[in-house]
Amino acid sequence: MDAFTTPLLAGTATGALLLIAALGLALTFGQMGVINMAHGEFLMAGAYTAYLTQQVVTNADLSILVALPVAFVVAGLLGLLLEVAIISWMYRRPLDTLLVTVGVSLLLQQLAKDVFGAQGDPVRTPGWLEGNVDVFGYHWPYRQMFTILLALLALAGLGALLKYTAYGRRIRATVQNRDLAETMGVSTRAVDRVTFFVGSGLAGIGGVAVALISGTNPNLGTTYIISAFLVVVAGGLGQLRGTVIAAFAVGIVTAFLTDWLSSSMAQVLTFALVVIFLQARPQGLFTVRTRGLA
């Protein structure tokens, strides 16, 4: 039982982390065609926000709860800055946004190294997150459950935003047909900015969860970003359900492969599996049907 339960539960938690990271990526990729390689550094910004919050709010029980909204805003503002300063100048050049954000990612990583040092900083776990719950003889840490809870909340929040608010309707209109939405009076520029803020903010929240599991680290973003991108690629564009399924699939499959082989072989095989999967569904799990010519 244990050989099955352990990777399943750990993989679900990893999948939840990947989901939070991938939600923002899928959102900006689907809506604006922007591939934000600096997204991992927004995750890192969230983690450092959690660390800094603990310097101010010394009560560990409370500090994480304070850190969550703060991290959302900090990472969101970073994303907004990136959008206004750089991305907005290069719409419809998706591969170029990819390269520019690689540059931004390098800058932010070096900045974190210079400000916080190359060594990671520990983040204290609040008392109510310590301990585990027994699942079929496996001790499942509360921290992993907390990550899954956060991911579900982020997903529900984003889903509600897209489905029930006027802003969400504008996003969906922009995703489906940018020019037509513009013609109907939607300010796609404003929509893009809010989207970037929300997407980056979600990465900030993911960063707090990462900080609880592994502390902060200037290279933290690079650890997750490639897997998060594989999730987006496997899930398909602009489709939340694809992202959700792909995130948990990648997380759980990686956990099982890690358990059987080694973490490096797991990474290689997960990559191979995604390429094989793309043979069956080249546009990812779910696709928006279009008659456009590429």
Partner: protein
């Protein structure tokens, strides 16, 4: 007159290649110290990979973010041979590399055995990346995976490859990579004359790659490649299979990267995961983007410039080098998307437009 101009246009690039050849093969060895010349050799290896990236990305529109993998396949193939040469020189025909003794069981994995042969090594340097790129490219292009999907997949490949190298410490030297070579196909690597010889080989290979690519760009294949980049569906409607055209460019780029890596190992004396991982691949891209990805000489000159800048800046400002690299990406892509090499043609075409208006 017009005939002369036409000739100038088609033979001009060849002239530029000739100038570069004279600079690399005659001027540089005469004026540079052996140490600096060896450094230049390192940049030349990156430039060889850069020419391939220019072919795949600049002309073919395939942003290969994991070219370090192919650089590494060639680099490690060569390094394995050099390692075995060094071992055999000091310990007889059955000797095995020192690190394998150091890390444990003192048995050599079977797949190292063929690399005792120099001829097999040279064959593997071309064949292994070609086969790997053909399989990967076939899987990706036939299913019409492209654009950002392709870029991200190749970068994931580079991450996976570097992780694998670090993990298999007993077979590949792990994080430290392969180093401490003493021989190069029978020549003593400590002899400065031989070092100069390897530099010259690298420079000649770079010039040869440029001539090959120049010829390719003039050919029907070159035109089809650009057509695929600019309108893949239209090429398909005209009866060509874009996947095959892209595959050829991708495989050629992989082979060039591999040859660059194979020369990199004896020139620098080391190949390690940090020479082939995602960051190393991005550095290769940086040179090509800086020089001008769609130009003939742009990728090579850009790679040389980035190589020089990397050495110069990390000597003068060891910690700030990353800032320069980051800013380079942002400024070049934002303001000169076709690279610095095309600034001149951008300016002249704007002037010409204003002149006719």
């Amino acid at each position: 007159m017009t005939v002369l101009l036409k000739h100038a246009r088609s033979w001009g690039p060849l002239l530029a290649i000739a100038v570069l050849a004279v600079v690399l093969l005659v001027v540089a060895p005469a004026v540079l110290s052996p140490f600096r010349l060896n450094n230049l050799g390192k940049y030349v290896c990156w430039a060889i990979a850069g020419v391939g990236i220019g072919l795949a990305w600049g002309r073919g529109g395939m942003l290969v973010m994991g070219q370090g993998v192919f650089f590494g396949l060639g680099g490690y193939a060569m390094a394995m041979h050099l390692k075995l040469e060094a071992a055999m020189a000091s310990g007889g025909p059955d000797a095995i590399p020192d690190f394998m003794v150091l890390y444990g069981d003192a048995t050599m994995p079977g797949w190292w055995e063929p690399f005792r042969s120099g001829a097999f090594t040279l064959f593997a340097i071309v064949a292994v990346p070609a086969v790997a790129a053909a399989i990967l490219g076939y899987a990706i292009f036939k299913r019409r995976v492209k654009g950002a999907y392709f870029a991200i997949l190749t970068q994931a490949l580079a991450v996976a490859f570097a992780t694998l190298l670090i993990a298999t410490i007993k077979q590949t030297g792990g994080f430290n990579g392969l180093n401490q070579f003493t021989q190069f196909f029978g020549y003593n690597l400590y002899d400065p004359v031989n070092k100069k010889m390897i530099y010259s080989i690298a420079a000649i290979v770079l010039i040869a790659c440029l001539v090959v690519v120049w010829q390719l760009y003039r050919s029907r294949f070159g035109e089809l490649l650009v057509a695929v980049r600019d309108g893949e569906e239209r090429v398909r409607f005209l009866g060509h299979d874009p996947a095959n055209i892209k595959l050829v460019a991708f495989v050629l780029a992989a082979v060039m990267a591999s040859i660059g890596g194979a020369l990199f190992a004896p020139i620098t004396g080391i190949i390690s995961p940090s020479d082939v991982d995602a960051t190393a691949s991005i550095l290769l891209i940086a040179g090509v983007a800086l020089g001008g990805r769609a130009l003939l000489l742009g990728p090579a000159l850009g790679a040389l410039a980035v190589g020089y800048g990397r050495t110069y800046l990390s000597e003068s400002f060891p910690d700030q080098w990353t800032y320069f690299l980051g800013l380079l990406f942002i400024v070049v892509i934002l303001f000169f998307p076709s690279g610095l090499g095309s600034v001149w043609s951008q300016v002249t075409s704007r002037l010409r437009k204003e002149g006719t208006a």
